[in-house]
């Protein structure tokens, strides 16, 4: 109903012209380079003997993998919600002291990727572990479900926190006050006003977390928890049953579609913008009072686990064994990581600009589809994408196999959605009238774009580039499968050393990743702050 109404609205002041052909090159290239490998994945899977096929599909192990994958996803979703929602509420709605620092600490875990978090957890237990050496407590190494679930939750909860926080900040005090004046109790206001308002932020945060958990490979492989991506990895790396690996990848792809579809369902027809005019008023702060010690204890617990643990473990291993002799090799690995991440960042921005421009300036079914493809690329489990790329290059483009261009292409497909965000935000600051003004003053379409839009887009493009660069720097599964032989990046170094229980050897590489990724956290907070300032101002 709401949908059909929205479509019935006459669309005014929009160029009805169809977009120039050159704007379609980028989305077409992305679509082809994403779909072609997936076709090869299907082809590879279809090569199974019909007799073999039933055995592959009906293997009881598949059910176990499905059960484990779902359990892990739900477990991480529940844990991150329980951690992130109270944190966001404390930071936005209470008189908690030092909120800026607390906010920063809440987001800092994003600089500790899942496999580093797993590294830290693993270092805690075992004969040579931290607990045994420092406290003399014998503790088994965390592994399996709980290890994977805790590692992933500690890495993922900031995504949910950021969404809920900005949603809470956008809550108009007037809404709550009118509900109170209509006779609702404070508790009813939480249930009937605040929670429905938070729903979109929660749902899209859950989507991000679910996509990450389904696509994660490092943490579950280190924790040896049998989910789809771990099974794909063992099939690919050890058993070399490529057909079964292809089938597992297809199953994982299907599973990754579930949250995407569910998100669309859950948010259909939702309208949460303020309808009135005027400036939204700030909400009144809840005084913590005698609950303050409890709140502080909660913060201490969360931060000890999410920040104290990885940073402490890194410090422990680094003091245990001096990292200096390893430094030249760490620097080399850093250059390898940067050598793939930098071109990917530049390419992603070059591709994202026309796609965003198409979507904003020429709204149509075509441009919506181009936009959607970007998000499909983001939701594709990286391991499945990488495996599809392997099959494709082995079959159809042999020179590309384990080549840098293929690795960069896979990065771009996987991270393009991140690049579109800041670019879209700054393009919305450049109204179409500026280009029209330039056109009426004699500029051709391209010249008008170059002289009026590009100067305004520069900041957004830079932010996108840095975002993709930093994310690609710590990427593991795609790099693991597609990097050229001997191309040992930071993430692969951490993973391979940790998986052989060489924790001290892995520590310098992990420290390099964490230090570098902290840049990303600063950037994210800055970008996030600007967005909310624009919303409320």
């Amino acid at each position: 109903m709401a949908d059909s109404l929205a479509h019935a609205q006459p669309v005014a002041r929009r160029p009805a012209q169809s977009p120039p052909w050159y704007l379609l090159i980028a989305p077409a290239a992305v679509a082809v380079s994403m779909l072609l490998p997936l076709v090869y994945l299907v082809i590879r899977a279809a090569e199974a003997d019909p007799s073999q096929l039933a055995g592959i599909l009906l293997r009881p192990r598949n059910l176990l993998l499905l059960r484990n994958t779902i359990l892990l996803t739900l477990g991480v979703l529940a844990t991150t919600t329980v951690v992130a929602v109270p944190l966001a509420w404390l930071v936005v709605r209470t008189d908690l002291p030092a909120k800026r620092v607390v906010t920063l600490l809440c987001v800092l875990p994003l600089s500790v990727p899942g496999y580093v978090m797993a590294f830290a957890l693993l270092g805690l237990g075992g004969n040579m572990g931290f607990m045994a050496r420092v406290f003399g407590i014998a503790m088994p190494r965390p592994s399996g479900y709980w290890g994977a679930m805790i590692a992933l939750s500690l890495y993922c909860f900031p995504y949910l926190f950021l969404g809920v926080r900005s949603s809470l900040m956008g809550l108009d005090a007037g809404m709550e006050e009118s509900a109170r004046s209509l006779g609702y109790s404070p508790r009813a206001v939480v249930l009937r006003v605040i929670l429905p308002h938070l729903r979109p932020a929660l749902v899209s945060g859950w989507l991000i977390v679910a996509i990450y958990v389904l696509g994660d490979f490092g943490a579950i492989a280190l924790m040896r928890y049998e989910v789809f991506s771990y099974a794909i990895y063992t099939q690919y790396a050890g058993a070399f049953d490529r057909v079964y690996a292809a089938w597992l990848s297809l199953m994982l792809l299907g599973l990754a579609l579930v949250p995407v579809v569910l998100e669309g369902r859950l948010l259909r027809g939702a309208r949460f913008a303020r309808t009135g005019t005027g400036v939204a008023r700030r909400t009144r702060m809840t005084l913590l009072g005698r609950w303050k010690p409890l709140a502080l204890a909660f913060l201490a617990l969360v931060f000890t686990a999410s920040i104290g643990l990885p940073f402490g473990m890194l410090a422990y291993w680094l003091t245990l064994r001096s990292p200096w002799p390893e430094l030249p090799r760490v620097a080399r690995a850093f250059l390898f990581s940067a050598g793939a991440a930098a071109p990917a960042a530049i390419l992603a921005v070059l591709v994202a600009v026309p796609i965003v421009y198409l979507r904003v300036r020429y709204p149509s079914r075509l441009s919506r589809a181009a936009d959607r493809i970007v998000y499909v690329g983001y939701a594709l489990p990286p391991l499945a994408l990488a495996l599809a790329m392997v099959f494709f290059s082995l079959r159809a483009a042999r020179p590309l196999y384990q080549s840098l261009p293929l690795l960069i292409t896979a990065y771009v497909i996987s991270f393009l959605a991140l690049a579109t965000g800041p670019i879209r935000a700054s393009l919305l600051q450049a109204p179409h009238r500026l280009e029209e003004a330039a056109r009426s003053l004699g500029c051709s379409p391209l010249e008008a774009f170059g002289r009026t839009v590009v100067p305004l887009l520069r900041r957004g493009m830079l932010a996108s580039m840095v975002l993709v660069f930093v994310i690609a720097m710590k990427e593991l599964p795609i790099t693991f499968l597609l990097a050229p032989t001997g191309y040992l990046t930071l993430s692969v170094a951490v993973f391979s050393r940790t998986s052989e229980a060489l924790l001290a050897e892995a520590a310098p590489y992990a420290a390099a990743i964490v230090l570098f990724s902290s840049l990303f956290v600063g950037l994210l907070l800055k970008y996030e702050g600007r967005k909310t300032a624009a919303e409320s101002g």
């Binding site: 109204p431 009238r433 009426s440 003053l441 004699g442 002289r451 100067p455």
Partner: protein, 375 residues
């Protein structure tokens, strides 16, 4: 030679539903400031954007100086455009915004020329400021200087004064009008403000629901509105229906003169200032006081006598004149009087037209039926 000819321009934004612009035709003559006037959503801005080349019409022809430009992109039309929010380039200083337009001027001379243009629109000492550091009125002048710097054959202005304070608007409008006239520039102004259109334009077209209802000089469209919409949109109007015989018509107000002569059922428009109010003949000072005190029965008795007798029900003092709402045989009328006359609610008056009522064309309206009520 016409500066601009628009012939049967049509534009649809949706497959179904009415076109946003429906077979619009008009011409702009040399040296003329032309106005497109209408309520929001009437298609006036879309018409302007089609002339500029920002939108492609679904049908019709746009010709500038007898050259068909319908298929030309905006940059090939030499048409200047001043946007409602000015669309100054936020990353360029004021002088660079103006220099942006000087593509045919050798680069070395651009700065000097741009200074001259800024001077012409009355801006000095703002050359190196950024657009967001200027007031609304200053931004407006920069936008005008920029548009004129490209030496357009025709200047299009989309509600250029609507973002200015009321106090600034009148003066800016006057200055810009005299500037355009001094340069002999052709311009089309889009506005929803009837007062602005009447005072700024040499000729104007009144648009409603995508169509032009009337084209003419401000005096023509005001004094001789062609349709009920035009009559009501340009100021207030009393609409009457009646039966015409030649130069007179039988109406609720009695037999009144009409213009032009007609026969049969007609819809008539009478401006409030064309209705004369006078106190009833027996309305001596004593009677007035008697009426004001609230006993209305002698008034009602007097009204019953003649069709044009009524009672003042509301009084609206507007400084230069006074608007009265007069109830007359169950219908309301609006009448303006000069400051020298004064009536009060409850008083009995007679209503008489000072000018012949204007016979209106009846147009099939899309959205609403005219009820004959005042706007």
């Amino acid at each position: 030679m016409h500066v601009l000819e628009a012939k049967l321009i049509t534009k649809r934004f949706t497959e179904t539903g009415n076109p946003a612009v429906d077979a619009v035709s008009f011409r702009v003559e040399p040296g003329e400031i032309f106005g497109l006037l209408g309520p929001s959503g009437c298609g006036k801005t879309t018409t302007l954007r089609i002339i500029a080349g920002f939108e492609r019409p679904d049908g019709g022809i746009v010709a500038i100086r007898e050259r068909n430009v319908t298929g030309l992109p905006p940059e090939k039309r030499r048409v200047g455009f001043v946007f409602q929010d000015y669309a100054l380039f936020p990353h360029l200083s004021v002088i660079k915004n103006v220099m942006f337009a000087m593509r045919s001027v050798p680069p070395a001379q651009r700065r000097e020329r741009a200074r001259g243009m800024l001077c012409m629109v009355g801006l000095t000492d703002v050359d190196d400021r950024m657009p967001d550091e200027l007031s609304g009125g200053q931004q407006q002048r920069v936008a005008l200087a920029r548009a004129l710097s490209a030496q357009p054959q025709l200047l299009l202005m989309d509600e250029p004064f609507s973002n200015l304070d009321a106090s600034l608007r009148d003066a800016t409008r006057r200055e810009i009008r005299s500037l355009l006239k001094a340069q002999g520039l052709n311009a089309i102004l889009v506005t929803h403000d009837q007062e602005e259109a009447l005072s700024f334009c040499d000729r104007l077209a009144v648009m409603n629901e995508g169509r032009i209802e009337q084209v003419g000089t401000p005096e023509e469209v005001y004094h001789h509105p062609g349709t009920a919409f035009v009559a009501q949109f340009l100021g207030r109007a009393n609409l009457l229906s009646g039966t015409a015989v030649g130069e007179f018509a039988e109406t609720e107000l009695g037999t009144i003169p009409i213009r032009p002569s007609a026969t049969g059922e007609v819809l008539l428009s009478l401006r409030p200032e064309h209705l004369q109010l006078s106190a009833l003949p027996q309305g001596s000072a004593a009677d007035s006081a008697f009426v004001v005190s609230g006993v209305a029965s002698p008034v009602a008795a007097a009204i019953a006598d003649r069709p044009n007798q009524g009672e003042i029900v509301a009084r609206e003092f507007r400084g230069h004149d006074v608007t009265y709402r007069v109830q007359c045989h169950g219908r309301g009328y609006l009448a303006h009087t000069e400051y020298t006359h004064s009536f009060f609610p409850g008083q009995a008056v007679t209503l008489a037209p000072r000018e012949p009522a204007v016979v209106l064309r009846t147009v099939p309206s899309r959205a609403e039926n005219l009820t004959g009520d005042q706007r």
